[in-house]
């Protein structure tokens, strides 16, 4: 694996499978009475959040603590940070403090890449979401969830998502989740279809390793998983689509549409859900919807990533599989 995790596109198929397998081991820790491993004892991880995201931060923090790391949370929002140079200043401060890894969330696309490549800092950098670019641990937890649900016995250990048909629906243009998922799912052998109104598909999408459709109903029957992307309300005022109701009619997932999916197919959502517009309560609360599992899986995946980037050489638990690499 590379030293940093900036983009899902940085992962090879073997890297990705290793992370998913390691996450399976990590998931077992959650079932223990004492949910903690000594793997990162004495190591310090900083969660550097320039953009609010309580969910992602808590998920990383839980992962770090279960690995016994010391955790520093740095929330730039609300502090005196306002200018661009603050990223560099903050990075150098952390470097001086001897931080062993930095988990960064930033509203600017490319900020984690810049942090990792500008010589401001030596520690591994994990991208926890940058602008509309990437959110690789989200894609990994999504793939983990799909593998558990769709590939089967022993949670698909050692396997990828070859041949699985995954549909992503909604605001692809502004979605780092979509960019990350398209890259990772392709690497894992899945066939990806993006469904959105043309206004929410980026110019240049034709080079992505996926199909694009404007018609959700035609895609649903051939989907093993349907991932609904969040549509932010401010998009409505920017004329990306005429009305919330029209969006909902054409691209929302309700019970009728869910019925058109194959029986085994699952519904995914990175959360938080806008119920009513992109997904109805009926779908969100159905047992085909994996939103809650995704949250739990997020901790396992982040443990695996932190472990592999920082712990490195020894197997996480007892599974020899991690030694094959």
């Amino acid at each position: 694996m590379k030293r940093h995790l900036i983009s899902a596109a940085d992962l090879t198929r073997d890297d990705a499978v290793l992370i998913l397998d390691t996450a399976e081991e990590m998931a077992r820790v959650a079932d223990r009475p004492i949910k903690k491993l000594p793997a990162l004892r004495g190591r310090t991880v900083c969660n550097l959040f320039f953009e609010d995201s309580t969910r992602t931060r808590i998920s990383f923090e839980a992962a770090e603590k279960r690995l016994s790391a010391d955790v520093i949370n740095f929330a730039a929002k609300g502090s005196s940070v306002s200018k661009g140079e603050s990223l560099k200043d903050t990075a150098q401060t952390l470097e001086a403090m001897g931080v062993d890894a930095v988990v960064i969330r930033h509203s600017a696309s490319g900020a984690p890449y810049r942090l990792a490549t500008s010589g401001w800092i030596d520690a591994p950098v994990i991208n926890a979401g940058d602008g509309t670019h990437q959110h690789p641990t989200q894609a990994l937890l999504d793939a983990f969830t799909m593998r558990r649900r769709l590939v089967g016995p022993d949670a698909g250990l050692g396997q990828d998502l070859a041949g699985k048909r995954i549909t992503l629906v909604g605001d692809v243009l502004h979605s780092r989740v979509a960019r990350s998922n398209v890259a990772l799912l392709h690497t894992l052998g899945a066939e990806v279809t993006l469904v959105a109104p043309p206004t929410l598909v980026p110019v240049g999408v034709e080079t992505w390793p996926c199909e694009v459709s404007y018609d959700l109903d035609s895609v649903l029957p051939k989907s093993d998983a349907v991932m609904m992307l969040r549509v932010q309300r401010e998009r409505m005022n920017a004329a990306f689509f005429p009305t919330e109701r029209e969006y909902s009619r054409r691209y929302g997932l309700d019970g009728d549409r869910m019925a058109r999916m194959p029986e085994h197919a699952i519904v995914m959502h990175p959360g938080p859900m806008v119920r009513g517009m992109e997904i109805t309560a009926e779908v969100a609360d159905s047992d085909r919807c994996t939103v809650v599992e995704q949250v739990a899986n997020g901790v396992s995946i982040r443990m695996a990533v932190l472990y592999l980037l920082l712990g490195g050489n020894e197997p996480a638990l007892t599974n020899p599989r991690t030694e094959e690499k």
Partner: protein, 428 residues
Amino acid sequence: MSKILIRGAKVLGGAPQDVLIDGEFIEAVGAGLSAEGAEVVEADGKVLLPGLVDLHTHLREPGREDSETVLTGTRAAASGGYTAVFAMANTFPVADTAGVVEQVYRLGKESGYCDVQPIGAVTVGLAGKKLAELGAMHESAAGVTVFSDDGKCVDDAVIMRRALEYVKAFGGVVAQHAQEPRLTEGAQMNEGVVSAELGLGGWPAVAEESIIARDVLLAEHVGSRVHICHLSTAGSVEIVRWAKSRGIDVTAEVTPHHLLLTDELVRSYNPVYKVNPPLRTERDVLALREALADGTIDIVATDHAPHPHEDKDCEWAAAAMGMVGLETALSVVQHTMVETGLLDWAGVADRMSATPARIGQLAGHGRPVAAGEPANLTLVDSAYRGEVDPAGFASRSRNTPYEGRELPGRVTHTFLRGRKTLVDGKLA
């Protein structure tokens, strides 16, 4: 000693000749001229060009003297072989009154390294709402003839029409920064394959092309002259080509960086590549080169945009837009146009000296290398190869996209009205 003999220079790339300068003028051009009473500059087959003229320079003074001053900017210009630069109006305060343009003009005179011709703002404060006092700036000591809100587009069609009409009274030209503002809200780079992948806000080609199309039609309608700044897309080339074929009085410039660099470089997220208009695609680059060769694009202009280190040493979205260009322009043009066979040195002299001086109506510059002409000259060692090292720049800023890149050619001497401003690559 007021006589200088430049010996064995390939004038406009032709056969070696001697050029004798007496005072501010060229006295003679020919083979085997006598060196008697003259200081000799051995040219050793270097290329001699008329002093370069940049129609698009940001000197930053007044207001951002931490980036550049008229003095440091003109020293950079002399280092790059320029004898005249047009200073853009987006300073603080904006050059939208006779007072500010006269100040810049005076600072240029005092610097002594190259002539500074101020450009006046089209609208008050570059705000796009109200015409600035174009006539007063023209009548000032600075004698402004080029007007531009560069950095911003004059996007209101009525204001643009009025500006085009108004400057006809004194033969001025409006230089448009073509950028439809609504189509470029949040824009961070060229919209296309790379922006889609990087998740950076897209600056679509059509935002430039639609304004150029509108403005050439406006220029035709009111019978005026319009100049297009830093044209950057293949589509823009087609529109300008069409407009010229129709007889519309339009001229256009391309920057060196748009002749060489593409948006693929943005994958590094290194803000040194952040510029407006953004770096485009390979296809655009090739179209721009061809258009410069065939005359559809009239000139090369640097859009020299100095920024201090801290404005670039940050994440992409927070970084300032722009690159320095005066000291590397000729090398990039040699690399992209001369060594590709698209343009000979006479063509370079036309695109980088004669035509920009003509568009800006700058007397005494862009003249032939001939007896009786002002001795504004640039001597280029075209055989030189070397890596660009910004540490040696005369500009106060170092934001060059070429650091460490090997580029051909080096300006060794620059003469401003017979006076050496650059000698053996060192400022005089």
